[in-house]
Point group: C2
Chain length 329, copies 2
């Protein structure tokens, strides 16, 4: 081991389409980045082979500059305790994938996994909007909704690593049926980008009011179109984000009374709508909490570059190995 060199971490963000990796130092600087496709592989072994071929030369190179102490992975349906990815609907690998073990065998480096939303929370806590916070909630609003809860400076993993599925809690009992889970009225079905599209379709069908959105085929509307029409002043598109914000705010009120966070950090495509969405979210959060909690909870945007956040978050898992290394020297 090179004692004069800095410790370095490998962070990998496994998404449904691409996997991005980076070599990260302690200050959260990504020294080098790269990516491979995830979706070309129906099984994990050939995927790991390509990752190895791309990453190993980099690892070899950076070993001259620093101690690479481990690999941190953020992935959908990843379990921190077990080091596995389980039945991830957005990945083509089926069943249970013991990724941490496979990674360690392949690369000869210790590896820890966590789900993508938890990785985002770790990234914000270490390098982003939640620096210095011991109690906060991370919410990612992309195609789906992810969340990570930090209490007393620790991620809440619960009994077997599956805590923090705020998107599946019911916010409108008997409400909109979720496209995957069949739960009725769950938060994700309203506040994710998918939810934004569903709300837009509903509003367009419920009225004959003019809307810029009517120039699109109802079944081809995406959240970006709704965003662009809202920015252009379209009333229905703006109502979509107001309603989305209201639902999120009502849900946040509940969550605030559960874990009493200092802040809620928001990340992902939906938050691009800015105040059209954030203002009603804040209003309905404040309206639905006890006086005890009013005007205390910060509603913040992520401070991490969207392209880097997941790599950074995943890399923070690795610093845990430093102590163990010291003990083992």
């Amino acid at each position: 081991m090179n004692y004069s060199c800095p410790n370095l971490a490998i962070g990998i963000d496994i998404g449904g389409t691409n996997s991005e990796y980076g070599i990260v130092n302690h200050r959260g600087e990504i020294l080098l980045k790269g990516k491979i496709r995830t979706d070309t592989y129906t099984t994990v072994e050939p995927y790991l082979n390509e990752l190895y071929d791309k990453l190993m030369p980099i690892i070899t190179k950076y070993r001259e500059q620093g101690n690479i102490i481990g690999i941190g992975v953020g992935a959908p349906n990843a379990n921190y305790y077990k080091g596995i990815i389980e039945y991830a609907p957005n990945l083509r690998w089926e069943g249970v994938v013991p990724l941490a073990r496979l990674m360690t065998e392949k690369f000869g480096l210790p590896c820890l996994l966590t789900n993508d939303a938890n990785a985002a929370a770790l990234g914000e806590m270490t390098y982003g909007a939640a620096r210095g916070f011991k109690d906060f909630i991370m919410i990612t609003l992309g195609t789906g909704m992810g969340s990570g809860i930090v209490c007393n400076g620790q991620l809440v993993y619960g009994l077997d690593g599956y805590a923090g599925e705020l998107g599946h809690t019911i916010i409108r009992r008997g409400g909109r049926k979720h496209w995957k889970t069949d739960l009725e009225g769950s938060l994700e079905s309203y506040v994710s980008a998918t939810g934004v599209v569903l709300t837009a379709r509903e509003l367009l069908q419920q009225s004959n009011d003019e809307s810029l959105l009517r120039k699109y085929d109802l079944n081809k509307i995406n959240s970006r179109m709704v965003y662009e029409c809202a920015i252009a002043g379209d009333k229905i598109a703006q109502e979509v984000f107001r309603f989305t914000g209201q639902i999120l705010g009502e849900a946040l009120a509940n969550f605030v009374m559960v874990t009493s966070p200092e802040a809620v950090v928001l990340f992902g495509g939906v938050i691009k709508a800015g105040d059209l969405f954030l203002q009603p979210a804040r209003e309905h959060m404040e309206k639905n909490v006890l006086p005890l909690y009013k005007n205390k909870v910060k509603l913040l945007y992520s401070e991490l570059n969207e392209a880097d956040a997941a790599i950074l978050g995943a890399s923070t898992l690795v610093w845990k190995f430093q102590r163990e290394q010291r003990y083992n020297q």
Copy 2:
């Protein structure tokens, strides 16, 4: 300090009517108990004087048998971080009462406070149904609903000590208006003993079906009467508990997906209805969680004697002082 003697704690449970205290050893045995009235005092000073007069002779006596290392207090609206009781609607002391400081000045012993539901959680974790659990939720169903959340072996206090107010989260949006908070559809308004009575009244008014409950004045029904009629086979009274259990189960499903506990421990008068209430609670909890969480969460009754639970729970706060004592020797 007597090194051959066991360490002892004083546990005090401050309720709206009475305050109960006990000398507790490490094994959770209450060596001596007593109580004074809480509600005869409109301010805290004369209350503390009576407590001092009752407790001090006992403290003096037990100092010969053990090292009394501190006072732990469970009280409504108590804040662990600040050591204060704030605007407790069930106590006659108004405003903010810095009880921990006042206790320490009076008794010359370190003092920690926590709210009554958190004390119950600590009691169950140390001596009761949650022994060995690192992740569980404590729910007390009395006149009101209290709750304490334990994650990773620690009580969740949140930013400023007010986490865990599950009773005020909204379970039926636009539903029953809470008698104190004005929130609509909050959990406490359905599943507390007060909620049971309100449900009974509603059901009696909504139908003309025969019911044993009709022998009582509608405005004088209490939860005990509903329980007795339910046990006697009354259909409406049984429906009250079924509905109450359903609402609790639906709420538990949400909480399970937030913190993923190993168990939910229930305590208080309402749970006396047993399976009339617990069976629908379990059914609707399981029905509303993702498959990932199904059949994993234990729904348990408290294992502590109701008369002792609060004293025991409060006393556990004190063991924290042991380490500090060792350092200060």
